[in-house]
């Protein structure tokens, strides 16, 4: 049965396995390393809407800091933003308030913690782990957009248009209003009903499901939105609200805000590092509106801005980038008259434009105004109202704060009523932003906070400390247990465990996965469970030692335990996977670290320990194993 040339079990590993182990160890250490350097206090300056930073801004920023004698550690201009690092938090805070004052509304100035990763590490893509809100402090909101209200508003917006059409076609209808989920139009007679139905079907078939309502007392037509229209309405409502939130958060000055859609009616807002959470909530809860006004072309806006005095029938307003403009006091049309605004491409000139539609009342006012004002400019004023609590002489006072921005001013080319286009926009992006702002000021569906998780800064630091402490203590206890039980082999397993921890941290850093407190718990648990593979192997080797030679026992221990280890780990991975797919934020963090830990532990506990054992014991006569 045996071949003539007898081979003996010798436990040798080919060179490439050692090489693989060394490469992975080096990579693991390199990419885990950015986590030990800590952070620099920094200020991040990003441009406000429709502003771009340039050489001049750079000089301006440098000048402001120089004049105030603030030490700058480094200043980088990247992706259109400035990141200025300071040596201490005192300088950072001073610089922030100074910059905010000087740069006004052209920039968003935010405090930030910039990782102090050395250049050679960040050069190869090394970054520290991304800490979750529970570790760095901050606010997490889940906002729910009221979709029923969004649809209801959409019905209301269509009523005027429908009435206009019926009047135009000389169809007599009885009075009606929009309902929550339909529009029902009663007609005076059967003939009017027939012609009305026909007119509606030719004009609105793409938007509505149109059917006669037999149940009604009078001959009536019932209009309900098609599924596609409802889906589109809801998509718009969500998009609008996201845009509004983004604008408001810019005002808060948050370095890395997250504003994301979740599901089909929710928005997640995460503001890391925000300390004044009360103010954050107030700003997010603001309401917005719009006003269309004529520009006062006779007055001198520059002079008004300098002196602070506007001509008697005008008010001084500003564009978002700070340019002054004088607007007439009279309001032509306000946000509630706006039915819709959409960006598109002008078919004649091929340039971006925004199409606006107004309701009947708005259209009439617009017609009256534009008739007299051809050649003059009309401006759109965006107004945001919010209640803010401020401290006056040590007492809290609720104060109503209103911000007004001119978002557009365009020349009236001809008279128009309820439908018109705003052209002369620089880019499709600008057109899109304008349309979104118009809608946001006019018809944003209401939203409310349905979930909030705020973690104060001291709590975040405590969580880090406690998490770190429990990892270290748990880890040391496991190391002691392993050496006590498995002697030299235990030490090898400990080495593998350390490598495992390093690789987990490296992988988390490379993936930039969010590390949360439950995530740390996942790491701790992995440390406890990762040694299981080695326990299985070592127990098997002990068992085999009773029957066979030392080399065969080592060989058998690894061979036979492997299937068991694989089976056991796959099932745990299965549970982690369920956890991941079900989990919300923090739970996901736990699932991620657990999954990564299971995978890396397979590598270190099997290949890692085997490599050392083969190197130490392999291919030689061994009298006794220290196990």
């Amino acid at each position: 049965m045996f071949q003539t040339q007898q081979k003996v079990i010798s436990n040798q590993y080919p060179a490439w396995k050692y090489l693989l182990l060394i490469v992975i160890t080096v990579l693991g250490i390199t990419y885990a390393m950015p986590n030990i350097f800590g952070d620099d206090p920094a200020v991040q300056i990003s441009p406000a809407k429709s502003v771009e930073f340039n050489q001049q801004t750079q000089q301006q920023v440098a000048g402001i800091l120089q004049n105030a004698n603030i030490d700058v550690k480094s200043s980088v201009f990247e992706n259109g933003k400035f990141l200025i690092r300071f040596t201490n938090t005192e300088d950072q805070l001073k610089a922030k308030s100074l910059l905010k004052e000087e740069m006004g509304r052209t920039a968003v100035v935010a405090l930030n913690l910039a990782p102090a990763t050395p250049a050679w590490l960040s050069g190869v893509g090394g970054q520290p782990m991304y800490l979750g809100l529970d570790l760095r402090g901050g606010v997490h909101f889940l906002m729910d957009v009221d979709m029923e209200a969004a649809v209801e508003k959409a019905y209301q917006r269509n009523v005027d248009e429908i009435k206009g059409l019926l009047r135009e076609q000389k169809v007599r209808y009885l009075p009606f209003e929009a309902e929550k989920d339909k529009i029902e139009i009663p007609f005076a007679s059967d003939e009017y009903f027939q012609s009305g139905l026909q007119a509606l079907q030719t004009e609105f078939a793409d938007r509505f499901i149109i059917a006669p309502d037999d149940a009604a007392a009078k001959p009536s037509v019932m209009l309900t939105f098609s599924d596609a229209t409802i889906a589109e309405t809801q998509k718009y409502a969500l998009q609008q609200n996201i845009t509004t939130l983004r604008n408001r958060i810019n005002e808060l000055g948050v370095a890395e805000p997250v504003i994301q859609q979740q599901g089909d009616r929710r928005i997640v807002v995460q503001l890391p590092g925000v300390q004044d959470t009360a103010r954050a909530k107030e700003i997010l809860g603001a309401t917005a509106t719009l006003e269309f006004r004529m520009v006062d072309e006779k007055g001198d806006a520059e002079r008004a801005a300098k002196t602070g005095f506007a001509p008697s029938n005008s008010t001084l307003q500003h564009f978002r980038d700070g340019r002054p403009i004088l607007l007439q006091r009279q309001i032509i049309v306000s946000g509630e008259n706006v039915v819709n605004a959409q960006s598109s491409i002008d078919p004649q000139q091929g340039s971006p434009m925004v199409s606006v539609s107004l309701d009947g009342a708005g259209g009439r006012k617009m017609l009256a105004t534009t008739k007299k004002n051809i050649g003059n400019r009309m401006a759109v004023l965006f107004i945001e109202n919010r209640v803010e609590t401020i401290e006056v002489n040590g007492e809290k006072v609720k104060k109503r704060i209103t911000t007004k921005d001119v978002i557009n001013a365009a020349v009236i080319r001809g008279q128009f009523a309820d439908r018109f286009q705003i052209t002369g926009l620089d880019s499709p992006q600008e057109a899109q932003d304008l349309a979104l702002l118009l809608r946001a000021g006019a018809l944003a569906a209401p939203m409310e906070i349905v979930e909030e998780r705020t973690v104060g800064p001291s709590m975040g630091q405590d969580n880090i400390n406690q998490g770190f402490m429990s990892v270290v203590i748990g880890f040391v206890l496991v190391l002691i247990l392993m050496v006590w039980r498995y002697k030299f082999f235990g030490m090898i397993a400990n080495f593998a465990l350390m490598l495992n921890l390093v690789i987990i941290i490296a992988v988390l850093s490379m993936l930039q996965a969010t590390l949360t407190l439950p995530g740390i718990a996942g790491i701790v648990l992995t440390v406890g469970m990762a040694v299981d593979a080695n326990v299985l192997i070592f127990e098997r080797i002990r068992e085999e030692l009773k029957n066979t030679s030392i080399q065969s026992a080592i060989y058998a221990g690894y061979e036979k335990a492997f299937v068991t280890i694989a089976d056991a780990n796959i099932t745990t991975l299965l549970a982690a996977l369920v956890l991941f797919s079900f989990g919300t934020g923090p739970i996901k963090g736990f699932a991620i670290t657990l999954s990564i830990g299971i995978l890396t532990s397979m590598f270190t506990a099997i290949l890692g320990t085997r490599a050392i054992i083969n190197w130490y014991y392999g291919n030689k006569r061994v009298e006794k194993l220290s196990i």
């Binding site: 909030e452 998780r453 206890l477």
Partner: protein, 339 residues
């Protein structure tokens, strides 16, 4: 032949009826606890607001409760959290008032009543609707996990083992829930995560024992399934103890050092690991035995008759097979190079 019979054996399976009785008692007690006391659900599931504040000095809760009542929060529950300086305030969901206003108002009234500066540690608000969703998602996740296990083990082993392992998992989950009901520890989202981790851990343990049972069925001449299972459990005993020990020490570290937020999570896992270790020994194997698992079920087409082989010879054979494979590969490469 294996040496299991030589070493001292504990007759685990002989006690299995006693174990079944014990498990039955524990499960009934747990169900009774769940029915009588119920779980102390956290705001993740009930909805509501939770505010943690920190004072520079220890605070008197009675005064604080009075302050809250004066401000119109009679139903607020206040308790110390971890330290005498820290206070946790819980407020049930209110109609017509959103979280933003609520937590601001609470903080304002506390600040007004306190002569010292107080610090907001954290706010958690969950709307009632979100609470319902989280409850549903949590329950579904546990069910999905159990179902996934059922399928995987059935594919990998045999349906009797599959039912056995799921019985063990249900056993673990129910008893962990029972402990939470009787102790009235807070049951929140992290505890659900811990339950899923318990499922993973307990299963891990069960699989390891099953794996050995299967191996023994294939390699031992012993005809009695009870005896074979017993040998397997004994063979894995030191491993089971060692792994449970390492897992428990880290969990204890997490429980005592990880902070209050994570302690419920750690507690659930500690209970789960202890119960899981017991269940993988008794419940899973005993259940599979009761369903009548036998040698034939696991002897699916063995490649060749291996019973006659000694351990040494079998190893040698595996080793040589691998060596031959490697040489064949090398030879192939050599030929290619020659060409």
């Amino acid at each position: 032949m294996s040496t299991a019979t030589e070493t001292k054996m504990i007759n685990f399976m002989g006690q299995r009826f006693l174990a079944v009785a014990l498990s039955a008692v524990m499960i009934i007690a747990s169900l009774a606890g769940l029915w009588m006391k119920g779980l102390n659900f956290g705001i993740d599931f009930t909805g509501g607001t939770l505010i943690e504040v920190s004072y520079p000095k220890p605070v008197d809760l009675n005064n604080l409760r009075q302050d809250l009542a004066d401000a119109g929060f009679e139903e607020a529950v206040a308790q110390h959290f971890g330290a005498a300086e820290d206070v946790l305030i819980r407020i049930a969901p209110r109609d017509g008032m959103n979280s933003a206003q609520l937590s601001n108002q609470v903080m304002d009234s506390l600040k007004a009543a306190s002569s010292e500066p107080i610090e907001l540690r954290r706010v958690e608000f969950v709307g009632p609707q979100v609470g319902d969703e989280l409850t549903e998602d949590g329950a579904l996740a546990v069910l999905y996990a159990l179902f996934g296990v059922l399928i995987y083990v059935a594919l990998r082993f045999e349906w009797r083992f599959s039912l056995g392992s799921v019985a063990a998992l249900v056993h673990d989950v129910v008893i962990t829930l029972g402990v939470f009901a009787w102790t009235q520890m807070q049951f929140d989202l992290t505890v659900v995560a811990a339950l899923l981790a318990v499922i993973g851990y307990s299963l891990n343990d069960t699989i390891v024992v099953f794996d050995r049972v299967r191996e023994n069925f294939r390699t031992m001449r012993e005809p009695d399934p009870v005896e074979i299972t017993n040998i397997a459990v004994n063979q894995m005993l030191s491993r089971t103890i060692m792994t449970s020990l390492t897992t428990l020490v880290v969990l204890l570290a997490l429980f005592f050092l990880g902070g209050e937020v994570i302690s419920g999570f750690a507690a659930a896992l500690i209970v789960g690991v202890v119960v899981g270790t017991y269940s993988s020994t008794y419940v899973a194997s005993a259940f599979a035995l009761m369903l009548g698992v036998s040698k034939e079920d696991l002897m699916k087409q063995p490649k060749e008759e291996r019973d006659s082989e000694t351990d040494e010879a079998e190893l040698q054979r595996i080793f040589l097979e691998q060596e031959a494979k490697r040489e064949a590969k090398l030879a192939q490469k050599g030929i290619k190079e020659d060409e």
